[in-house]
């Protein structure tokens, strides 16, 4: 049993390697464009940092977070968002197109997990570069805060970033699944971008209430990058915050998987 899961895992990895090579070839045929996209993303990242630094010329703290702590938070949020873009974004926005053109039918016939194929087919290489830039910003903010994180903190940070990535992926996958019913789902998918905007704000700036509760226990945007950052900065109020993020990530993934299976069962091809 264990041998067979190992085997399928290596098979998926080698498949992903092939998709990587495809994407490199595709990207390198438009080199200038590839570089320009990196510039675009860096510019938006700089914009978020500029917004925060302008706020901090008028205040010393936002909800108990100092300037460099917030820079670290924005960096962490961007890091997770870029990883999400690197792995999933293009693919998820294309799902509605696969359904509309009937290409999904062919994917369902291929001898590989369809969710894997649909989610990871194209790799966004520029996003890896941008994720690395976000790491540099996190590192610099940590340096300004005189942080000396332990190995445990670093591992915790990495694991929680993974959980945050899972949350974004599962929710966006769920949203793009709406394409099974309405072809114009792309607007909804792009609407998700607005949620990234709250993920980079310090959670303690939000008063207790419906808004905060919804974005913590419903769509856990206020956990995604806040919890990993808190681990690094040492602001964690209780270990339960980590458990909550991991639990929410597992729940989001579970719901999205159930929805995917249910949608496929009710899928009546668009073409052929």
């Amino acid at each position: 049993m264990k041998g067979s899961t190992m085997k399928s895992a290596t098979r998926l990895l080698s498949l992903y390697g092939a998709m990587w090579r495809n994407s490199v070839t595709r990207e390198m045929s438009f080199k200038v464009n590839f570089l320009l996209w990196i510039v675009v993303e860096l510019l938006w990242f700089a914009l978020q940092l500029a917004f925060m630094s302008v706020l901090y010329t008028h205040t010393d703290s936002i909800g108990g977070w100092s300037k460099w702590e917030v820079v670290l938070l924005v960096g962490c949020s961007n890091f997770i968002q870029q990883l999400f873009t690197a792995f999933f974004l293009t693919n998820l926005t294309e799902i509605s197109e696969h359904i509309r053109t009937g290409r999904l039918d062919f994917m369902l016939l291929l001898p590989v997990n369809t969710r894997f194929l649909v989610s990871l087919r194209k790799v966004d290489l520029g996003a890896y570069v941008n994720a690395a830039c976000a790491l540099v910003v996190i590192g610099y903010a940590g340096h300004r805060l005189h942080l000396t994180p332990s190995a445990g903190q670093l591992i915790g940070f990495a694991v929680l970033c993974g959980a945050g990535l899972t949350v974004h992926y599962s929710l966006m996958f769920l949203l793009s699944g709406v394409a099974f019913w309405t072809v114009r789902a792309q607007g909804i998918v792009f609407g998700y971008y607005n949620l990234f905007n709250i993920a980079r704000l310090p959670d303690s700036a939000f008063p207790r209430g419906a808004f905060k509760a919804f974005f913590t226990f419903g769509l856990p945007m206020l956990l995604v990058s806040n919890v990993p950052s808190k681990v690094l900065v040492g602001k964690l109020e209780s270990p339960w915050e980590m458990a909550l993020l991991i639990g929410m990530a597992a729940a989001c993934f579970g719901v999205s998987e159930a929805f995917w299976r249910w949608s496929l069962r009710h899928y009546t091809s668009a073409s052929s």
């Binding site: 008028h58 607005n194 709250i198 808004f211």
Partner: protein
């Protein structure tokens, strides 16, 4: 003129198809706005009663952001730039070169129809949101402020359109204009006062930005409404804004003339 009214009517019918999309877009857009407002509330909360940031008491600050949302609904370009670029790339503009139809006026009619529908749909969530925050939403200072606001929003819309149109015309020279559009948009987002009032910036930077057309897209109309720009300053501002609109129009016409010479009607 009549044919463009016709284009406008067709545009209305075509964009009506997207009404649900528009509703989602407007409603989702309120989420980051709420986040930003909470952050401001937290900043003002620390400063105590009657505090002001950059000359903005909290009521004015919240009103600023709500007005930015309104101006944005009224003037933002939605799909226009992508469609223009696609028309050029796919060779669709060939038919306009043969017909007695001016492409710029044609696109302007479509832009206006798109705005009419978008604003109508967006008004539902946005006005509910403003109603909810009515304690923080100021009425226009006086009737010149209201009149100046309406006038400057119209000019801002025209300026926005000419900028988007000119950016899209880059498609005559480059294969993919989306990166250029996004880079321009990033500058616009901060320099137009979309993200925060420009008065919060260091004075030297704010003054420098006022020399660009960007503040006239958003910061200027909102400031007029809030009565922060009045009297001779208002007249002068409107004149400069009109001059930028004229410059934008000139740029759009000039780029079109240059582009047409380069145009090879791919696929047309």
């Amino acid at each position: 003129m009549r044919k463009y009214l016709h284009v406008f009517a067709i545009g209305i019918q075509n964009t009506l198809v997207y009404r649900v999309n528009f509703l989602f877009r407007a409603a989702f857009g309120l989420i980051p706005l709420t986040g930003t407002l909470f952050v401001w509330r937290s900043i003002y909360g620390q400063k105590g009663e009657g505090a002001s940031v950059g000359g903005y008491p909290i009521v004015v600050m919240v009103s600023y952001y709500l007005l930015v949302t309104v101006v944005d609904a009224l003037t933002a370009v939605a799909e226009d730039d992508w469609q223009i670029a696609a028309d050029i790339k796919d060779g669709n503009i060939s038919q306009f070169l043969l017909k007695p139809l001016d492409y710029l006026t044609y696109r302007l009619s479509l832009y206006l129809s798109g705005r009419v529908i978008y604003t109508t749909v967006a008004m539902i969530p946005v006005s509910l949101f403003i109603l909810y925050l009515r304690a923080f939403f100021l009425p226009p200072t006086d009737s010149p402020a209201l009149f100046g606001f309406i006038l400057s929003v119209i000019l801002a819309g025209l300026l926005q359109f000419f900028i988007a149109y000119s950016m899209a015309l880059l498609a005559f020279w480059v294969l993919d204009v989306s990166t250029f559009i996004f880079i321009q948009f990033a500058f616009e987002y901060i320099a137009s006062g979309h993200l925060f009032p420009l008065d919060l910036l260091p004075p030297a930077l704010a003054t420098a930005l006022r020399l660009t057309p960007y503040p006239y897209l958003c910061y200027f109309p909102v400031s007029v409404y809030l009565g922060r720009i009045q009297g001779p300053e208002l007249i002068q501002g409107l004149a400069i804004q009109a001059a930028w609109v004229a410059a934008g129009y000139g740029l759009a016409r000039w780029m079109w003339r240059r582009g047409i010479r380069k145009y090879s009607a791919v696929g047309g």
